[in-house]
Each structure stands twice: as structure tokens, then as C-alpha cells.
Assembly symmetry: C2
Homo-oligomer: 181 residues x 2
DNA sequence: ATCCCCATGTAATTTGTTACATGATTGA
DNA sequence: TCAATCATGTAACAAATTACATGGGGAT
């Protein structure tokens, strides 16, 4: 499932512009599927070319025309087919963890800085999830609630693990070695 | 931190061939940093060209020469610099979660299949982590232990969340709607 | 017999990221 | 006055995946 298919899925829920879709990618999808304009606009063009969505251009003054996309029957069918994929992937790519693998080459200050930035990120996600919960998440389809709950659970587990285990990182660091040597 | 830098970090721990590094990517790094030969071999060539690693070719019969790479002083310094990055990323890209967002368009059987494949994946990771713990993880540097513990904690949290919340997915699915309609 | 391990690499393709390019309206 | 929101898109670049290409040795 690539950006194109996710856009198609979002459009199945109702018409939207590329700009609108970007906002979904920044809020409800942010914790597991990133996409910028550089992916979204080409995806929509390609979807339109394939006849999976229709595009209505709405003239506006002082702004580029707003292009509203609507899913077609063929698009809906295509989406249903895409959802038949029996083993969709779930991948983590973490420069953070890669860095922590080499904590013994870092100073305690460097490690602390990295940890702080991670926790800041975690807190941003937590407040995002909190906002979802307090703004009518109850009415979302079960799948979306599952996915957001998933993100929240993972994020909480991450914060808890870091709090409880960061002490492992500052044993035998670059600084502690030079202090000892 | 890209594949090149991670390779450099692995080599800081001791000399190795591309084939050896691949095994690290498949075991200890598997849960957060994927890399195949198509990334590793070009990374090593580029590292050697930049003088960050040395390469010794060991002739072998019936096999391609084994190329053993060793980090240089310049390479070690480069690694130390790379580790100064204060806010390394941690990204999730999940076709699994993207699929689950649209669970209301799927049959309960389809959902069940997807969930099963995810749990199978989780169990593979869990047995991997278990193997680490029973084969001398105690002597690893603190950073590596932190990272593996992190992976284990996340994986456990994921399994727990799925078990406790999958019921959310099968409410109002494609099949339950047609049964009702 | 058959499969896995060892061992290297290239080339084509696919994908996504980042920077560029433009500019009016609205609220603080 | 300044920042954010709205609104689109392209082009260059970076990166990773996949398939291709080769082939002996050892275990079951």
C-alpha cells in the first residue's frame, strides 16, 4: 500500500483536495504514514489519469484553483482489491536506535540531548492523541479508533521504556572511560 | 544516519565483510534498520573510496574473494561526528495500520488474515529477542542492550494491544453490513 | 537430490524528499 | 507587522528495493 492507495482510501471517505489530504497525513496518519506535497500531488494526478478519481477544478481568486477529487466506482473497486493484501508490512526505521547502539562512543551530554529530543517528539504525539480523544473520535469508524489507540499505546510504551532504561546508556560512555583512564 | 554510517558503526566494533554486516542487519538491527546487499555493498565501496575504511581482499577458491573491511582513524572520527546529530529520527511506516484504517471496507475474514500475519511477525521478533537474551547479551555494550530491550518492549506492547483491541475492527465491516442490509 | 550457506556485485526501477516558485487573506 | 493558512505544482536529488548474474561446499 503506497501513498496513492492511501489517498484513494481517504477519498473513499469523502471528496477532498490535495491540501486537505495533507492535513490528514499530518494528523491521524502522522504516526505511521508520512507523505508530503511532493508525493500527494503526483499521486492524485496519477489516480486521475487512471480513472480511479474524478477531479473538479473550482476557480478561486488570488489562489491556485482548488482541485477537488472524488473517488469513482473503479477507484472504489481498486481500493477493495488493494485491501486484500494478506500481509501488509509494518516497518520501523530508527536513526534514534541506530545512534543508541553506539552510545558507548558518545558523551553523557550527547546521549541526554538525543533522549530529550525523542521525549519531546513523544509528547507531541501524546498531545495529538489526546486531542483526537477529546474531539469526537467516538464517531470514527472502528478501524480508525483501533489505529489511533495503537499509536497511543506504542507511544506510551516507548516513553515508559526510555524512562525506565536510560540508565543503561550512560554506563561505559566515552566520557566515563576518559574519566576512568 | 544512513546505511553507510550504520555500516561504519558496525565496523568500529571489529572488521567484517559485507556478508557479515548483512547478518547483523538481519539479527540485532532487524527491528529498526533494514538493509539488503543492494545497499550494503555500495555503502562499503563508497566508505572505502572516502578512506573511512580499508579493504583487504582475501582470495578464496570457488567463491568470490572475501573482502574484509576495517575502520580507519578518519572513519572513527567520522562516526563520532555523525553521532553528534542531536535529534535522530524514529519513523514508522505501516501498511498494516493503513489497511486497518479501512477495516470497514473489509470482510472479517480478511481482517483476521491480516491480524494473523502481523502476530506471526511479532512472534518471529519475540523469539529473536529471546535468542539474544540466552546467548550472551549480558556482555554487549549498554547501548545494544537498551536497543534490543526497546524492540522487545515495543513488540510486546504491540501484541498486547492487538489482542485487547481487535474487537474494534470487526464492528461494522463490509460483511456485517451486508448481513444487516 | 535438494536446500541452505557462503560471497560478491550491478543495473533498473521505484519511491520518496527537498527545494524551488507564487501569492492573497486572516488573525494576533 | 508578522506568522499562519490556504493552494498548487515541478525538478532535482537521494535512497532503497528488486531482479539479475554466478557457483562451490556441506548437511539432510
Amino acid at each position: 500500500m503506497d501513498v496513492k492507495t492511501v489517498c484513494l482510501g481517504m477519498l473513499d471517505d469523502g471528496e477532498a483536495s490535495g491540501y486537505d489530504l495533507k492535513k490528514h497525513f499530518e494528523s491521524t496518519f502522522a504516526h505511521f504514514f508520512a507523505a508530503g506535497y511532493g508525493s500527494i500531488y503526483p499521486a492524485l494526478s496519477s489516480l486521475a489519469e487512471a480513472g480511479l478519481v474524478d477531479c473538479e477544478e473550482i476557480p478561486q481568486e488570488g489562489k491556485p484553483d482548488r482541485k477537488v477529487y472524488r473517488i469513482t466506482d473503479a477507484g472504489h473497486q481498486h481500493l477493495l482489491d488493494a485491501l486484500k493484501q494478506p500481509a501488509p508490512s509494518h516497518k520501523v526505521r530508527s536513526e534514534f536506535l541506530a545512534t543508541m547502539c553506539f552510545a558507548h562512543l558518545m558523551t553523557p551530554e550527547q546521549i541526554e540531548t538525543v533522549l530529550e529530543s525523542r521525549v519531546k517528539d513523544i509528547d507531541r504525539y501524546m498531545s495529538m492523541f489526546h486531542e483526537f480523544e477529546t474531539t469526537g473520535m467516538e464517531e470514527w469508524p472502528g478501524g480508525m479508533r483501533f489505529v489511533c489507540g495503537f499509536g497511543k499505546a506504542m507511544t506510551e510504551a516507548m516513553r515508559k521504556y526510555i524512562e525506565e532504561n536510560k540508565h543503561m546508556l550512560t554506563q561505559q560512555t566515552a566520557a566515563s572511560r576518559s574519566a576512568a583512564g
